[in-house]
């Protein structure tokens, strides 16, 4: 039986969302850059956003047919929804957050105890949300959604607000949720590595349309495949630092790039994807920054793209890099060919393909 079938069309003005997707479970991944419409799809399925055209079924039950049909309100769709901001109710304890749903599995039931155990929520039950860390909040949000016994769980960038070690922790928990609790999920992410770990099936969104569909390794890995990345750098692996969860790559010209830990051997080559809008540019080398990658670059070309400026740079003689900045930023920094800049990239923003 199909878990979800959805046809969604909406004209946002700056782009049009037009997708038709389906999933037989267990986990469907939706991949794409920021602004491609990923989160909107989840909002529509959850019943929080009504597009111009929608035809949505969950477990063969029509929850939305618009225009000209019925619309089931969010509280009756039996769809759990977890976002990157855990959105715990601040005036309720963890226990009361977990049991907020009017129909929920009891914490003392077999199912409830399993969820508490898998998500390690036991020690947190009597605490206030304000006293939880980011990872703990995300675990509680997951537990709250699972205890409401949803037919389908929607996860909107559940790890993007977490640092890399917490993100790995939540990723491991989601794998347990998938394997032990066996709740069908749709997970949205702009990090290919997360979907490669979790999803059984994957769609790639670009500008509101499905650009590719298939197994995660087919559509997300390898140079030349549709990945949604503006930059795909083919680099030599220098060394691994497992304690820090990073791998260093050789950029040439004396520079190195830190990316999430991968399994490629030192000396071999791997592809690293970077989104253009995740690169920050500055004119002077910053100090005291949390990002590991502060790369010297030389601007080659600046072109207009709607509200943005596309800045093409060279890292040394052979590696090129593209960044997206606003027109105002390009003007303030006086970005023009020949200008020397520093490109800042978080290691977590790089994806080893």
């Amino acid at each position: 039986m199909s878990i979800v079938e959805a046809t969604i069309k909406h004209d946002f003005g700056r782009f049009a969302l037009d997708v038709k997707l389906s999933s037989d479970g267990p986990v469907l991944g939706i991949f794409g850059p920021s602004g491609s419409g990923k989160s909107t799809i989840l909002s529509v399925i959850a019943g929080l956003f009504l597009p111009h055209v929608a035809d949505i079924s969950v477990r063969s039950r029509t929850v939305c047919r618009y225009p000209g049909g019925s619309i089931v309100p969010p509280e009756k769709r039996e769809v759990g929804y977890v976002t990157q901001d855990a959105l715990l109710f601040p005036h309720l304890s963890v226990r009361r957050n977990l049991t907020f749903a009017p129909r929920h599995a009891s914490l003392d039931s077999l199912g409830g105890k399993r969820i508490i155990e898998v998500l390690k929520l036991g020690p947190l039950l009597e605490r206030a949300p304000a006293k939880l860390s980011g990872g703990e909040k995300q675990r509680v949000a997951l537990g709250r959604a699972l205890l409401s016994e949803p037919q389908l769980l929607l996860l909107d960038e559940p790890m993007s607000a977490l640092d890399s070690s917490l993100a790995r922790e939540v990723l491991a928990l989601l794998l347990d949720v998938k394997q032990v609790l066996q709740v069908p999920m749709i997970i949205v992410s702009h990090r290919a590595s997360e979907l490669q770990a979790l999803a059984d099936d994957c769609i790639v969104l670009n500008d509101g349309h499905i650009a590719a569909r298939g197994k995660p390794l087919e559509v997300l890995a390898g140079p030349g495949r549709v990945s949604g990345f503006d930059n795909i750098l083919r680099l030599e692996v220098m060394r691994h630092e497992p304690a820090k969860g990073i791998t260093w790559f050789n950029l040439g010209n004396g520079q190195e790039l830190a990316a999430p830990l991968c399994s490629a051997q030192p000396g071999s080559r791997a592809s690293v994807g970077i989104f253009a809008d995740e690169i920050i540019l500055c004119l002077e080398k910053p100090v005291g920054l949390s990002a590991r990658n502060v790369l010297r670059a030389s601007v080659r070309e600046v072109t207009e793209a709607g509200q943005d400026a596309i800045v093409k740079m060279m890292l040394g003689d052979t590696q090129s890099l593209i960044a997206h900045v606003t027109h105002a930023a390009a003007s303030e920094l006086d970005l023009k060919p020949g200008r020397e800049v520093y490109a800042i990239v978080k290691s977590a923003g790089c994806v080893v393909l």
Binding site: L48, P74, E75, R77, Y81, F100, P102
Partner: protein, 217 residues
Amino acid sequence: MLTLRVGALSVAVSLVPGILIGWLLARWESPLRALVQGMVMLPLVLPPVVTGYLLLRVFGRGGPLGAAYEAITGGRIAFTTMACVIAAAVVGFPLLVESIRLSVLGVDKRLEQTSRTLGRGRFGTFLRVTLPLSLPGIVGGSVLTFARSLGEFGATIILAGDIEGETRTIPIAVYSALNAVDGEAAVWRFVAVSVALSLAALMLAFAFMSWQRRRLA
């Protein structure tokens, strides 16, 4: 005691409509919202005696509501304690609604959406999420309404008059005492009571809001 009773009752009768209208003005997306907000805020900008006169036209014996009340119960509204309560409630209502509106605006809509995805309907979400989280505004607005009623004179003197034991609230008593030959001592007593009551109400409200902030921080 009459002043306290009028203050408490004016808050009591205003609370439910104040919460509903405050919520509506915070969440309702319609071009009519500005009109409704303007009408609610009107008593704040009108001279209190004008408000009192308009209330007298409605609740007086010749007014639609006053005549209907008299026909049903045989009693009257104008120049009774009930008139004091109505006058205080009307002039304090904008303060209550605005405080609640701002408080509801401060409640993250995504929390309400989360509540809906967890199975709570609109009313359940309002009771369990919106209302508790906008409590500081409700308490603050109630205190402002109460404090406003302690000082309400213009609308009260027009609608309720000056009847000892029935409608002579502290502000009206001060006015009467000022017009009396040896009234200054009485004036000072009334002023002291008025200041003490207002201060106590404000301190209670600040203490509650501070506690709520610490609880949620």
